[in-house]
């Protein structure tokens, strides 16, 4: 139906993101932020960084999940309105990476919440963040 099509199209064209650091080393965080800046400018895809989980469609998560951050991560995820997606950005977020085996680290983001796309890299290049979002959107299509 035309109506559904329009909605589907709008969803693909307007993914608003919220970023959460669940214990990352900052590198992935700054690379995500860098993706907003003129050189990469993800606003081209309609991506906007939002502060409130209620406004966001995509939770961009970086870092391994530490014991302290686990609850917060789950709360943020629950506050988001449906339909919602999660991208794990960085090796840490995929599987805890180099922090695998540290005593306060619980593992990748998928140990706490469901993840829709994984973007490996340490840190990910801003292009790889874009690549991840594009692949996620393709999979929704």
């Amino acid at each position: 139906m035309l109506f559904d099509k329009a909605i589907h199209w709008a969803r693909l064209k307007s993914p608003w993101i919220i970023h959460f650091n669940s214990g990352a080393c900052n590198a992935c965080d700054i690379e995500i932020l860098a993706a907003l800046t003129p050189k990469y400018d993800v606003e081209r895809f309609g991506i906007q960084l939002k502060g409130s989980p209620r406004h966001a469609d995509v939770l961009v998560c970086s870092g391994p999940v530490t014991m302290q951050q686990r609850e917060r991560l789950i709360t943020i995820y629950e506050q988001m309105a449906e339909p919602k997606f999660v991208i794990a950005v960085g090796t840490c977020a995929c599987s805890a990476g180099v922090f695998n085996g540290c005593y306060c680290v619980e593992g990748g983001v998928d140990t706490a919440i469901p993840v829709n796309a994984y973007v490996p890299g340490c840190p990910v290049k801003p292009e790889a963040v874009i690549d991840g979002v594009v692949k996620l959107l393709k999979s929704i299509e």
Partner: protein, 313 residues
């Protein structure tokens, strides 16, 4: 009857306003992006955002009062849409001009800010409440200069009706040059009214997350955004009707074109202001409004009174 229904709902009412609102949101965002040396959003972005928000799940916080929570955005939108009906678009006359419509429009344009306040207040979130208190504080700061800046030209024209003011300046275009200080004040105050940088204090993202709308999601957030955008168009239209009354061709199509260009100019200036400054602190903002904007708008009134005296004599 049917005609006025069309007028209200489609042109130049609700639908036309919404389209314009989305179009000018695009223009605003694109300009801002280009001034920051980046590409910016594609042309359909505001439409996509709007449709997406309308189709998204709406979460209503358990502590919030659902009926108030839901009805507030509609009030905001209705108020701006009504205000728009009284602003001349393609000629010297608005759709339903009457004697004091300037005041009515100004009241209508205050409603959205009040609704933002209520929205924040009733969503029982810390961030939203602070946002709404900030919105209120700001309202008291810019409202007076804005009114005074608009009343000056009205005094000179000797009417409280926007259509009459436009007609007056259309006949005496040179007189509108006298209103330049008022124009500056009006544009800056409009920036505050629209809660855009450097006056985006009520929804300063880095300080209080999403500000007044922190708890809003989905459809109601979409309506709010639409209300803010239409408020921008309405304000820009109001400013151009009062301050740039020249060049009003009789042909409605041409008139519409001229109108769009004028609004575009105002939006451009608004976008430059938004991009060029750091956010004020709320105390700085209040001081600025009272120490600079208010005196300038007072000056405007004095100028107009003197000019009026000269003309009359």
């Amino acid at each position: 009857m049917a005609l006025s229904l069309i007028n209200i709902l489609i042109f130049p009412g609700f639908l036309f306003l919404s389209t314009l609102a989305l179009a000018f949101e695009y223009v605003d965002r694109k300009l801002c992006a280009r001034m920051q040396n980046r590409v910016g959003p594609p042309w359909y972005q505001p439409i996509a955002d709007f449709i997406k928000l309308m189709s998204k799940e709406t979460v209503i916080p358990t502590e919030a009062n659902p009926s108030i929570f839901k009805s507030i955005p509609i009030f905001a939108l209705a108020a701006t849409a009504s205000a728009f009906l009284y602003i001349p678009i393609w000629g010297q006359r608005s759709l339903y001009p009457f004697d004091c419509d300037l005041l009515v429009v100004l009241y209508f344009l205050t409603v959205p800010t009040l609704t933002f306040f209520l929205a924040g207040w009733f969503s029982s979130s810390l961030y939203a409440e602070i946002g709404s208190i900030r919105a209120m504080t700001q309202l008291f700061a810019y409202e007076v200069p804005l009114y005074m800046a608009l009343l000056g030209p009205a005094l000179l024209a000797g009417s409280w009706s926007i259509s009459a003011i436009t007609a007056f300046y259309h006949q005496n275009p040179l007189l509108s040059l006298l209103n330049l200080p008022g124009l500056c004040v009006a544009i800056i105050a409009a920036q505050g009214k629209l809660e855009r940088a450097p006056f985006d204090i009520p929804d300063a993202e880095t300080e209080i997350v999403g500000g007044t709308f922190t708890e809003y999601s989905g459809r109601y957030l979409g309506l709010f955004r639409m209300a803010v955008d239409s408020e921008m168009v309405a304000l820009a239209a109001l400013i151009s009707a009062i301050f740039f009354p020249a060049l009003l061709p009789a042909n409605p199509v041409l008139g519409l074109l001229v109108f769009l260009i004028k609004v575009l100019v105002v939006v451009f200036i608004l976008a430059v202001i938004k991009t060029a400054f750091a956010r004020f602190r709320i105390d700085q903002m209040v001081t600025f409004c009272w120490k600079i904007l208010a005196p300038v708008s007072l000056l405007q009134i004095v100028i107009d009174i003197i000019a009026k005296g000269v003309i009359l004599s």
